[in-house]
């Protein structure tokens, strides 16, 4: 869309100016702020800067022409700036940029902006660019909601990388080869895998991991599920596990937390990041406020999240805000595994398959049991074995008892 360039008024008494020299020619690209034309007033010779970015279309006034202030001297085909490209606004007079448009700043003119812009510090913008984060999806914790580095860090901690976070899988078959191979295929890591690689290394380096496993007798849980199904409430075993985790975390807020230097930040809500296996790895969409959700709602949300994850239709908000992760490899027949804590969480629960195995009852008779092994990986900066053990005991009790799972509806 062509923009008109007119002879500017360079002084109170100026009525005309003389075009001395065009500094750009038709067809040339011009950036806002580039010197465009040299004009002469009765007082001085000045360079006039372009108010527009784009391409010079047409020079209407010629060198040597005397032109009245306000008259058209050129046209520029404007190129619309992409969002976030710069803080300049169509301004007053000489085209010097007006100050930052952050909400708390005094606004020096009310010119409309082009498109939505994130309120983020320059550093946050740089980091967002590097990590491929859409700033518009973040909420900032800075003044006026400004996004800062802390928010970027928080965001990175939530996003589940597209890499398997499993440390090792005991029942998996193939032995790991340690020889370096000279031939073979080199597959470049995409951005998400790179991020994941970085984050998992960070987690392992910074959080001293320890692991506590426990077996849960799932017969009652499975019966409960059947009876709910018969009554038209479709829940998966995993949904029941999620609910149990949420209720247990309410009793052990220290595990629903983040390490912060000299303190542990215990989160108000239990937002469970639920691992979903997708085509090239794992995603962990977050189901928020699980401690308050009724089981059918929790089930519905987790189902929707899983569907969107598999369809590749998760948006960034879906991956944000988790406080604890649950990863279930039971559907693959995995008996037991240990996961890596997702920073900035304090712990993660790895769930194995329900297996029918013989156990001793109270009278030392052999009976059949449905045992599911769960393993908590925890950050020893935040918690310890005893606490995790007590958490697991509470979790186990909630699941085996079953009543608490349904008591809220």
């Amino acid at each position: 869309m062509p923009a008109d360039v007119t002879m500017p008024r360079m002084g109170q008494s100026m009525e005309t100016g003389v075009i001395l020299k065009w500094l750009k020619q038709p067809g040339e690209a011009v950036q806002r702020g580039d010197p465009l034309v040299e004009i002469e007033t009765d007082k001085a010779t000045v360079d006039i800067e372009s108010l527009f970015s784009g391409t010079v279309l047409e020079l209407v006034a010629q060198e040597g022409d005397t032109v009245e202030v306000g008259a058209l001297i050129a046209r520029i085909e404007e190129r619309v700036q992409s969002v976030g490209a710069g803080l300049d606004q169509p301004g007053m007079g000489m085209g010097r940029s007006s100050p930052t448009p952050t909400p708390e700043a005094v606004s020096f003119n009310g010119a409309a902006r082009k498109g939505p812009r994130a309120n983020a510090s320059p550093l946050a913008k740089r980091l967002a660019n590097a990590y491929g984060i859409d700033l518009l999806a973040l909420t900032g914790s800075g003044p006026g909601g400004r996004i800062g580095k802390a928010d970027i860090d928080g965001w990175l901690a939530q996003v589940q990388p597209r890499a398997v976070s499993v440390s090792h899988v005991i029942t998996s078959a193939a032995p790991v080869t340690t020889q370096t191979q000279t031939s073979g295929k080199r597959v470049p890591l995409n951005k998400m895998r790179q991020t994941a690689a970085r984050r998992m290394v960070q987690s392992k380096q910074q959080a001293p991991h320890f692991y506590v496993a426990m077996d849960v007798e799932m017969t009652r849980v499975l019966q409960l599920r059947e009876s709910l199904k018969a009554r038209g409430v479709a829940v998966s075993v995993n949904d029941l596990i999620l609910k149990a985790v949420a209720l247990a975390l309410v009793q052990f807020p220290n595990l629903n937390a983040t390490f912060d230097g000299d303190a542990v930040v215990q989160h108000a809500d239990v937002n469970l990041a639920v691992a979903v296996a997708v085509e090239d790895g794992l995603l962990t969409p977050v189901v928020a406020r699980c401690q308050t959700l009724a089981l059918p709602d929790l089930a519905a949300q987790s189902r929707q999240a899983a569907e969107r994850a598999r369809a590749g239709r998760l948006n960034p908000a879906d991956l944000e805000g988790g406080t604890f992760t649950v990863s279930n490899l039971g559907m693959f027949g995995v008996k037991h595994f240990e996961a890596i804590v997702n920073p900035p969480h304090a712990a993660i629960l790895a769930v194995g398959a329900v297996q029918r195995i013989p156990v001793f009852d109270a009278q030392d008779r052999i009976i059949a049991a449905q045992l599911m092994t769960v393993t908590v990986s925890a950050d020893h900066r935040v918690t310890d074995g005893a606490e995790v053990a007590r958490f697991l005991a509470a979790f186990k009790q909630t699941l085996e008892d079953g009543f608490a799972l349904v008591s809220s509806f």
């Binding site: 952050t102 510090s121 320059p122 550093l123 946050a124 740089r126 800062g148 580095k149």
Partner: protein, 327 residues
Amino acid sequence: MTEITYREAIRDAQREELERDPKVFLIGEDLRDPWGGAYKTTQNISAVVGNDRVINTPIAEESIVGAALGAALTGLRPVAELQYLDFVMRAMDAVVNQVAKVRYMSGGQVTVPLVIRAQGGGGRSSAAQHGNSLEAWLCHVPGLFIAMPATPYDAKGLLKTAIRMDDPVFFIEHKMLYMTKGEVPEGEYTIPFGVADVKRRGGDVTIVATSRMVLYALEAAEELAKEGIEAEIIDPRTLVPLDEAAILESVHKTNRLVVVSEGVERCGWAAECVAMVQKCAFSDLDAPIERVCSLNVPLPFQPDMERFVLPSVADIIKAARLTLGKV
């Protein structure tokens, strides 16, 4: 090392350079013994080197600077004193249009080995005509080098360097620093221009401060440390040339900047530092840069009012916390 006052550092530097080079001489008002300068920065000098080399002038700032220039253009190395930085206004043509430009306008025919010393700053109810911090005016003049030391160590080393330079130096002291003490080496030493000093290391916020404000910044840093905020304090020591690299390196590390300068806020030196950092370290900044300067009013006489107008330690603490998103 011995401990001396800032005043003694200035005095010693001048005396040592006078003894070292017969072309050096002092010129200004009230310099000779026994008076030894309004702020005693030339005491015990004329008694030692003679009145020939310590010239007391009439009150005529433009000609003090003009004559010093004439001497500098004809083989000598004068150190001129303006009793108060505020009085440079009387000499501004000589400083701006003559001293700073004669080399350039002559196409490089001459060097101007001239030092102009002056003390500025508020804090003793000297009121609006005797307490200005005008470094911004002088930094705005191409052709001068500007030094602004905060400690005896920096003052002595920089003044000796200034006297040995072949270009004009405006050496800005602070009336409230004269009695402050610090350690200096016993032997000969000089400090190069264009090298900042990290007066304190820290990782959370960078504070760039000049002259007396360096001491304020150090106090502020002690307070900030109590709440776990570690400030890094950069003292540029010379404003022209400026050690941009030291400032940028610090901002790269901390992502936050506070600039403290006693001059009035509007168009003060702090604005220059801010402009440079926002351009060169834009994407290192996690918060807007804060300036802590005097308010945009003349300096009032009454002490409480004066304190209100001048920057304070509390202002610096507040600014630092602001960059960290704390209120």
